[in-house]
């Protein structure tokens, strides 16, 4: 719109001098002289845009390229001029007019500027208003947008155009603004956010005030805008938050005189902090609303992960921990991974947050009575406990202290006499200041000394173990509750014992850190938990609160791991756990229970156990063999591997492989094998023979059958000390169906069997056919076919005669329905 108007207003170029070929022009001496005299005047010549002049004035026909060229150069100059705060001057107007007497006339600048001013149209003016904020590209965009709007407007109301052109600019603008659709406002705000964000990122010190503006945008009603705002703020904060914690100046400090620089920094910091605070408040508020839950949590988590050293981290942590067991999977994952990263990157926050997080989680678990998602506890697995924190430091320190003390002592002795109060106070002050400085330094560097770190670690550990023990106790309590027939307490949303599995895993991992005093208790708990189900079997009530086989196996496993990691320092009887395992093997159901756990318990409890009672080992050998007969190949294989290891370790158990008359020479006190006995020591397994191997060697799986054969061929006399390299876990994994390759070995095998000569047999298969009936049927068939044929012919004839009596046609149709083909479909 504007352009066209401008074109109209352009003053027509002055009359061109008559077209004279250049060779014909003769410079008079006067001319030359004039130029020489007034070199300044001629400077324009060098600046002349000959091309533009040509285009404007020459009779040349403008091509499209030329037009484009013109447009571009115009724009370029326009922009340049604008930037310099100058006024547009069309090069055409700059042309001087040479009068007949040889004098050049120039248009005065003021005149031109007015002209140029008149040319700028409303839209552009609008743009100019914002010029100081917008950068070039955005300005262009804006201009484009307003043009687009205008265009749209034109399209919508073509009739109004004429009127509008006459209305004053302001009114027009207002109207245009009113017409802005929601989408455009959205677009606007988005752009605004982007602008502000970019500004902040490019120069945070100068534009720190924009934070507030961005926060204001987040108050929008449009959820999309709010989300975008939150995310942009997140990006900004993540970038501009300094690597130190901001401490707001105290009043005392405020009173002090300070330099401009410091003032500026203080202002910057306080603004940033304020904005950050209100941002966090907003986030924490939003986090409870379902609409913003995910986005707010993402912001919180990212911030906590990125700037765990900064102010208000406690609030962040609290918010994140609160959502650690969120029913929303995305949020939960996010929170958990954030906490994990906190644990694994302690350098960022000096370990303080670890303690706090663990503490908070412990409280969370307590508050929810252990009904949380397993992920909430699994994060503990990422905590690292350093055994020898600052051991070296400690030694150094110790030495230093010793020396210091010595020195001090000597000094004191020396100065004892002349000791006066003034000096003393001075000394105190000095040390105080030193302490302060070092404290400040520490506050900045986040490197707590070893002592502190150890303290934090103990705190963390105690919180972790508190949580674990709470879970164990809670599980025991719920099991106990069940026996008292309490049907009201129903399992939570996460299953009956959601935290038990990760808790046991954690216990197994951190068992080394566990205080010896607690181990006794822990073992008792585990024992009770492991045996929990066997008690309940007597009551016929099935209850979901029962521990699963996997969980009970895990209990046994943890018990063994605890014992082993403490080098069997404690004299705890593990016999009960063996009994449990002995029975749990039978409770195992593939698919329902984790075979991996079973294999692991076989490994830890049987393969790795050093001194085993012969009777017990034999019982396990027998049970495993029996087990292998009933289960799939993965389970069978891991059982057989364990069995083999057991036999290799216990020479006497190899008697099971031999059938001595009278049930074996080493049979214990029990003369006969009791397969249904629950205690391995009372099963009398030594009296039996491993007949299972005989059937197992017929197993369909070639690996199992060879394994069974090798086991059955083990020598009883020699002590075979080599152990098989394969662990039960490995065997289980290798032979599970998921790993099965199902590759058929396509050897070219000769199969001797060919044709079966069974011709006489076939003769029987010939059905008896009643010829009379058959011929009758054939006759019927014929009649029907003939009828159809007749009808067909008649119809053909009729058609050829172009006569169509309806009656006959109907007949045809009726008879056609009797078509024998329809019979066939039956």
């Amino acid at each position: 719109m504007g352009k066209s108007r401008r074109k109209q207003k352009v003053i027509p170029p002055p009359q061109l001098p008559p077209d004279v070929p250049e060779e014909d022009i003769e410079f008079s001496d006067e001319d030359l002289k004039y130029v020489e005299e007034n070199t300044e005047y001629a400077r324009f010549v060098s600046r002349l845009d000959t091309a533009a002049i040509d285009k404007q004035c020459g009779g040349r026909v403008k091509t499209v390229e030329d037009k484009y060229e013109e447009e571009r150069s115009k724009k370029k100059t326009l922009q340049e001029e604008k930037r310099n705060g100058e006024i547009l001057v069309d090069p055409v107007d700059v042309l001087p007019v040479k009068t007949l007497d040889g004098k050049l006339h120039y248009r005065t600048e003021s005149k031109k500027s007015k002209l140029a001013e008149a040319e700028t149209d409303e839209a552009e003016k609008d743009v100019l208003d914002d010029e100081n904020i917008l950068n070039k590209s955005q300005r262009r965009e804006k201009a484009k947008k307003s043009k687009r709007e205008a265009k749209k407007h034109e399209k919508d109301f073509p009739n109004e155009i004429l009127q509008e052109e006459e209305t004053p600019q302001a009114a027009l603008l207002a109207e245009v603004k009113e017409e802005l659709s929601a989408a455009e406002t959205f677009e606007n705000k988005k752009n605004k956010l982007a602008e502000l964000g970019m500004l902040l990122l490019s120069d945070p010190e100068a534009n720190i005030k924009s934070l507030k503006e961005m926060l204001d945008i987040c108050k929008d009603e449009n959820t999309k805008i709010v989300k975008l705002g939150l995310l942009s703020l997140l990006a900004v904060f993540k970038d501009i938050i300094p690597g130190y914690r901001i401490r707001l100046p105290t009043e005392k400090e405020l009173e002090m005189k300070i330099s401009k620089e410091v003032k500026k920094t203080r202002f910057y910091e306080s603004t940033l902090l304020k904005a950050y605070k209100s941002y966090l408040q907003k986030l924490i508020r939003f986090e409870k609303l379902s609409v913003y839950n995910q986005i707010a949590n993402r912001c919180l988590c990212t911030l906590l992960e990125a700037v765990p050293h900064f102010n208000y981290r406690d609030n962040l942590l609290i918010a994140v921990v609160r959502n650690i067991s969120s029913p929303d999977e995305v949020v939960r994952r996010l929170c958990c991974s954030t906490i994990r990263s906190l644990f694994s990157n302690e350098g960022k926050h000096g370990g303080e947050l670890t303690v706090q997080a663990v503490r908070l989680i412990a409280d969370h678990v307590k508050a929810h009575n252990c009904q949380l998602h397993p992920n909430a506890i699994e994060v503990f697995m990422s905590i690292r406990f350093d055994e020898d924190i600052g051991k070296r430091d400690k030694e150094d320190e110790h030495n230093k202290k010793y020396k210091k003390n010595n020195k001090r002592k000597a000094q004191e002795e020396q100065n004892q006499v002349q000791e006066n109060e003034r000096k003393k106070s001075k000394q105190e002050m000095m040390s105080k200041i030193r302490d302060e400085v070092s404290a400040d330094y520490r506050g900045v560097t986040y490197e707590p000394d070893a002592k502190e770190r150890r303290k934090m670690q103990t705190e963390t550990l105690s919180a972790v173990f508190e949580t674990y023990f709470r879970i164990l106790r809670n599980t025991m309590y719920t099991i106990g509750e069940r026996t008292e027939e309490n049907p009201t307490s129903n399992p939570g949303a996460f299953g009956s014992h959601p935290l038990l599995a990760p808790c046991l895993d954690g216990l197994a991992k951190f068992t080394q850190q566990l205080d010896l005093d607690y181990i006794g208790d822990l073992m008792n708990y585990l024992k009770k938990l492991a045996s929990s189900s066997s008690v309940s079997n007597n009551t016929k009530q099935k209850n979901s609160k029962l521990l699963t086989v996997s969980e009970r196996l895990r209990c046994c496993l943890v018990a063994f791991k605890v014992m082993r990691s403490n080098l069997n320092a404690l004299n705890v009887d593990l016999q009960d756990f063996f009994v449990q395992l002995y029975n749990l093997i039978l409770e195992y159901r593939p698919g329902r229970d984790s075979g991996v756990v079973l294999a692991e318990s076989l490994k830890i409890m049987l393969c790795d156990d050093r001194h085993q009672d012969m009777q017990k080992a034999a019982a396990f050998v027998k049970r495993l063999a029996t087990f292998a007969l009933c289960f799939g190949c993965a389970e069978s294989m891991s059982a057989l591997v364990t069995l083999k290891t057991l036999l290799q370790k216990n020479v006497k158990c190899r008697n099971l492989l031999e059938n001595d008359a009278g049930g074996g020479s080493v049979s214990g006190s029990i003369a006969k094998y009791q397969p249904y006995e629950t205690d391995p020591n009372l099963s009398g397994a030594l009296a039996t023979v491993l007949w299972e191997l005989s059937l197992l060697s017929k197993h369909y799986h070639p690996a199992i059958s060879t394994m069974a054969t090798t086991v059955s061929n083990m020598n009883t006399s020699q002590s075979q000390t080599f152990l098989s390299a394969v662990t039960p876990q490995q065997a289980f994994a290798d032979f599970s169906l998921v790993k099965e390759s199902f590759e058929l070995k396509n050897e070219s095998r000769k199969l001797n069997k060919r044709k079966r000569e069974s011709l006489p047999e076939e003769a029987k298969n010939v059905p008896e056919i009643d010829m009379v009936k058959l011929s009758k049927k054939l006759k019927e068939n014929f009649t029907i076919l003939r009828d159809i044929k007749e009808d067909e012919r008649e119809r053909m004839e009729l058609q050829s005669e172009k006569k169509k009596p309806l009656k006959k046609q109907n007949n045809v149709v009726k008879k056609k329905l009797k078509n024998p083909k329809s019979k066939k479909k039956i």
Partner: protein, 594 residues
């Protein structure tokens, strides 16, 4: 249509749509495009191998969606179908007979003339009469299905009445083979090679068109006839002369197609007869046609599995007959089976790894289950005589995978089926396949409400997945327990005299006892108790016997001979008990079918 040259006819086939339409009308029954293996077949084994290898290679790169169970054997176009049809159905020339009696010129078949004709053919093998007779036979076979609108004033064969119609068909079908053979001087047990040698025989030149006409007419009759008995009679008669088809590969192919179709869709007798034809074909023309028959049947069978039909009880027959065919040439079937089983395994692997719905559904499809069923039966039928160990191993793993893919009471029937398969394979191969854990899991399929009594018939269900509401019915629980007992009985019956039996039965007995303790349903308790008692007596018996033996477990030979004598007698109470359970189960299955 007048008699066009062969090329012209082919051209018409290809380019004239009306002709196409007509030919489509003529064979409306072939609804499904059976993938055809056309000329490649005759080209010999070299190409055949290529065809087999190609899909295999492709499958390795394929996504599972693309792995179709029946895509194993390559896809061919249905060009052949047209080619087979394209040969003219023209009448035989009767130039020879021009000089003969006047009656010969009569184109309307009368009863009396037929009688004389028959007589001449029957007694003297008089060729012109045979030609005449075959022409009429053709007319009879095509009766009512002639190309409409084209009259043939010069040679127009008509049939006087229904009597003659019936007689000409029956006579030709009954006597043609015999007549041909006696003219050519062949015995009844001539082989394909002899037929092929006939080329040198001067008599063959004159007889060849007659034989061809006979076959073509007969095929037409089979295709068009609507009546069960006509078809089955025709098929029976056709079977005798299959050897002659050696000279007409196109017709042979056509016959295979028709027979496969009839085999899959036809009723019991027709299906049976069609199968016999296919079997004869594959026996007589072993090298060329075995694959063709097998593949066509395999595909038709699998395709049939996807269509829910009323006559699903015919499926076992289809399966058995296919197995029978496969057993004809185990060597060839072995390669087919291994390709197919690899496909099954691939699908299963996909499902096990992803557990996504689509993949699991594919496993539970009728196609998959029936394919497994087919190969299980094939292996079971042949494992005794041939070394099918790799196939056996893979299929057992596949079945285990299918049984464990989704655990839950809703898949009870599928699991029962899987265990049946395993038992079947184990029994036929003599290999030990553990099933106890699979079976015993079913004991723990608990009903949520014991008191709820819903009488529902389980028989009506043929789907893999049971409807949810059934799980609560008491009937369901009963079904579970009965299945457990039945399957265990089969398993135990197989190993009841094995030296390891007491150990094999230990865990199942413990589990059953536990169930017995816990169950509240008296009826079931009684059944379970009886079973436990029988098994325990079996255990005790074997235990007593094995206490006396002197060999050790590593002495496999002695272990194998252990108690073989007792096994022969098989009158131990528990053996009879197992047998009674198995019989009972079979009985109920049969009852279900009825």
């Amino acid at each position: 249509m007048g008699k066009l040259g062969k090329k012209a006819r082919k051209f018409a086939k290809k380019n004239l749509q009306s002709v196409e339409k007509r030919s489509r009308k003529l064979k409306p029954f072939i609804k499904k495009k059976f993938a055809k293996r056309n000329e490649r077949h005759q080209a010999g084994d070299k190409q055949e191998k290529k065809v087999e290898q190609q899909p295999k290679k492709r499958c390795q790169e394929e996504e599972f969606q693309d792995i179709a169970i029946d895509a194993v054997f390559g896809k061919d176009d249905d060009e052949v179908l047209r080619d087979g049809d394209s040969d003219s159905d023209g009448y035989l020339d009767e130039l020879v007979n021009e000089t003969d009696s006047d009656i010969m010129k009569c184109k309307v078949l009368s009863r009396s003339f037929l009688a004389t004709c028959c007589d001449m053919v029957d007694k003297e093998q008089y060729v012109p009469a045979l030609v005449r007779l075959l022409n009429w036979y053709r007319a009879a076979c095509q009766y009512g299905h002639e190309p409409s609108g084209i009259a043939r004033p010069n040679i127009y064969y008509d049939i006087e009445d229904s009597e003659t119609f019936a007689k000409v068909i029956i006579f030709v079908l009954q006597k043609a083979d015999h007549t041909f053979r006696s003219i050519l001087g062949l015995s009844d047990s001539s082989t394909k090679e002899k037929i092929l040698k006939l080329k040198n025989n001067p008599k063959w030149d004159s007889l060849k068109p007659l034989v061809k006409s006979f076959f073509r007419s007969t095929l037409h009759l089979v295709k068009q006839a609507g009546d069960l008995e006509i078809i089955s009679f025709t098929l029976t008669q056709l079977r005798v002369s299959i050897v002659f088809l050696a000279a007409f590969p196109d017709l042979l192919k056509k016959l295979i197609k028709i027979s496969v179709h009839l085999w899959v869709t036809g009723e019991e007798t027709i299906s049976q007869q069609a199968f016999l034809i296919l079997k004869d074909i594959s026996m007589v023309f072993n090298s060329e046609c075995f694959d063709s028959c097998l593949i066509n049947m395999y595909k038709a069978f699998l395709h049939d599995c996807d269509i829910p039909k009323a006559n699903s009880e015919q499926r076992p027959f289809l399966r058995d007959s296919l197995v029978e065919l496969c057993s004809q040439d185990v060597q060839k079937s072995y390669t087919k089976a291994s390709v197919s089983i690899t496909q099954l395994a691939k699908l299963l692997k996909m499902a096990l790894a992803t557990k996504n719905k689509e993949a699991v559904e594919k496993i539970h499809s009728g196609e998959y289950i029936n394919c497994v069923d087919l190969w299980v039966n094939f292996i079971a039928a042949n494992v005794q005589d041939c070394d099918l160990q790799p196939l056996l191993y893979t299929i057992v793993q596949v079945i285990n995978g299918v049984a464990q893919l989704i655990i839950g009471p809703r898949y009870l029937l599928l699991r029962v089926k899987c265990i049946h398969w395993l038992n079947h394979l184990s029994r036929t191969s003599g290999i030990f396949i553990p099933i106890a854990s699979l079976v015993l899991d079913m004991l723990e399929y608990k009903t949520t409400n014991d008191g709820e009594k819903q009488e529902q018939k389980l028989e009506a269900v043929s789907t893999v997945k049971l409807p949810k509401n059934w799980l609560k019915s008491q009937n369901f629980q009963e079904q579970c327990i009965f299945s457990v007992i039945e399957l265990l009985a089969v398993h135990f019956a197989q190993w009841s005299f094995h030296i390891s039996f007491p150990d094999l039965a230990t865990i199942p007995v413990m589990r059953l006892k536990k169930f017995h303790e816990r169950s509240t349903m008296e009826g079931l308790k009684r059944v379970v108790k009886r079973f436990i008692e029988q098994v325990e007596s079996n255990i005790e018996f074997v235990q007593r016997k094995r206490d006396d033996v002197t060999f050790s477990p590593n002495d496999q030979q002695s272990a194998d001979t252990f108690m073989q004598l007792e096994k022969q007698n098989a009158n131990a109470p528990y053996t009879q008990y197992y047998q009674s359970i198995i019989d009972k189960a079979l009985g109920t299955n049969k009852k279900k079918k009825k």
